[in-house]
Amino acid sequence: MKHLVNTWFAEQLSEHGMYTNYLADHHPKQMPCLEIRFIDWEKAAETARRLEMRLVAVWATEGGFHEQDEGTYVYMSFAHPEHRHALVRTLLGKTRREIPSISKHYIAASRMERHIQDMFGIEVTNTPDERRWIKHEHWPEYAYPLLRSFDRNTRMERAEGEYPFVQSDSEGVYEIPVGPVHAGIIEPGQFRFLAVGEQILNMEQRLGFVHKGIEKSMQGRTAEQGVRLAARVSGDSTVGHAWAFAQACEYAADIRVSKRTSYLRGVLCERERMVNHIGDIGAICNDAAFSFMHNQCLRLREDMARQHARLFGHRLMMDTITPGGVTIDLSQQESSELIDDTRQLAAEVEHLRTIYADNPSIQERVIGSGSVSISDARDIGLLGYAGRASGDYPDERIEEAYPPYDDLDVNVPQGKLGDVATRVWVRFEEISDSARMIIQLLENLPEGDIQTQWHAPEAGVSGFSAIEAWRGEIACWLRFGENGVIDRYFVRDPSVINWLGLELAVREVPVPDFPLNNKSFNCSYSGNDV
């Protein structure tokens, strides 16, 4: 594992005349934090942008531990393909309740800034978008749930209000409100289209309908309890979230897990990648009314879920990862069974792939629909398959190369056109690559313990991790408080960023192609509405 890489960023900042202060102690062990002055906040983001770093996340937390001053800190994190992650923070102090927006440089920051604004009551100045985001209009204006002073059991009266969607004052334009309740069994979220006939002029999302208060709810839990909650941030990437949480805890507590543990985690994560990609490919085909593929994919997905239930005790592989280890182990026989299963699965998917690729009617639908250009993808910082399809290839498995990926050769499929077809293609590629890696991991499964003794770090210690889950990079930052309980937990699901990609992708497509595009991104509502 490489360490202390963000000296590079610190140097770059100093070169641009910004004063930086290293905070090695009590900060993410593998990634010490840079503290900068409040006035340099926006400039630092601008510099990062100029250095072609991508934004990972922006979040806030109340201080008051150890060396920290009382008052609110705002963090941001960037990543660079070679120079990896950098963590930057600034102190707002007790009285200052505002922070300049960095959305000008990173549009993806806008929603996260609005999240800070909604949850902490910190005004983001000079922001392109002042509307509320995660806190819906029926919450009273004065309620700031993530403040320490806000009791988690507070009951509030219902406020009235309406979200100010972008409007059109032209006569021929109409609005389509789709959602929050959808006809299918999908999560709630509203899409508001401005359209003329079949031509979409603009599409806006309104999310937050499944806001579960996980960040608040995490406060006061131990790591062992917390990982169970983290695993439920988004059900379809439970392994990814649990791993990100566990790894952040481990970094904070400076615990190294055994090689066997990391291999098993890798297997779980890649199986999760496969199962979701298979399901999504089927669903994409179903949205184009090609139900043959849908049913075959459903079948494969169900087979996988049953296999998981048998081997890992849960169809979705929930609660298989704990801080310091995993809860499941594979015997020699189980391991070879899983190898066979994966091999067979990969072969079946390959077979389906030829059917898919050689069926002109489905190809006509997916090719050229909902393209996102590489420059737009970079602007947004699209993650996972959405980024890879457009020609931007961020992958934590290569950039961070956390175990077990330091032992593996990850092939990143390199798309270019950024349309639905390419997103599907990337998924097919990833399925076969995951299968290859699972087999490699299982064949070389080292002996060892699957659980390292967990001990909570002292109060004020924080950890940061980035895990390449199936949807893309999950970033997780947490800080421990007194008695080994978690004091602040922040998680950024890749959906938070990729949702913007969908808004962009559908601006050029006719209305009935929206579901196809939506499914090809398949962002998580729950992961966004933490």
Partner: protein, 225 residues
């Protein structure tokens, strides 16, 4: 098989011939174009065989066999290989206003019907009815060459014209003399091979098979000179 049935079969094949010409014109995808082209070749072979049977012309059986091997199998196979090797087999070629092309194609068909009608009346061959269709198919092949952007589809258009001429030959004279036919067949084969070589050459030079791009390159070159 009665003469009437043979006549009907020939008519039926003529109609299918017309259909394949239209279908070639309407396809978006490289591979679909190729499939229809292969179908047209098989159709030609079948027509030749039927006419051979109907007229007891043994040379025509050889023509039928040649059509089957060359137009129904070899050429499609060659082109398929070219397409696969150039990695364009999943490409979609946008049509220039598909419905308008179709209307023009209908007009062309009507026109050939109109001009062939007087000739047909004088002909007494059993295949006379298909003359108008053969003429239409020739024109449709040309239309395909005009409206297409990609070099490969243009070549298929060219080959479709050749198919139509072959069909016309069967229709008008119950087939050309065998020697001529074999000569033409080889010409076509060699033309196809040369085209195939050209594609690779073009691809390496221009990195595209679109005629527009080539024109642009040529014009650009002219400017440089």
């Amino acid at each position: 098989m009665s003469a009437a049935l043979v006549q009907q079969l020939v008519d039926g094949f003529a109609a299918l011939m017309l259909l394949t010409s239209f279908a070639l014109l309407a396809q978006h995808r490289m591979l679909s174009v190729l499939h229809w082209f292969a179908g047209q070749g098989l159709l030609l072979a079948a027509t030749a065989a039927i006419v051979a049977y109907g007229t007891d012309n043994e040379e025509l059986y050889i023509s039928a066999l040649m059509a089957l091997l060359l137009k129904g199998m070899l050429l499609p196979w060659l082109l398929r290989r070219v397409i696969r090797q150039l990695h364009v087999h999943r490409e979609v070629e946008p049509l220039m206003n598909g419905s308008l092309t179709m209307l023009v194609a209908l007009g062309v068909t009507l026109f050939s019907f109109h001009i062939i009608q007087p000739i047909e009346k004088t002909s007494l061959l059993m295949t006379r009815d298909s003359m108008a269709i053969a003429t239409a198919c020739v024109l449709l092949g040309m239309l395909m060459m005009i409206t297409r952007k990609k070099a490969i589809t243009q070549v298929i258009g060219f080959l479709a014209v050749e198919n139509a001429l072959f069909f016309a030959a069967i229709g008008a004279t119950n087939g050309m003399p065998l020697v001529v036919e074999i000569g033409i067949a080889f010409d076509v084969l060699i033309a196809a091979l040369i085209f195939g070589l050209f594609f690779f050459q073009i691809r390496t030079t221009f990195d595209s098979l679109e005629v527009d791009t080539m024109n642009a390159h040529l014009i650009h070159k002219d400017d440089d000179e």
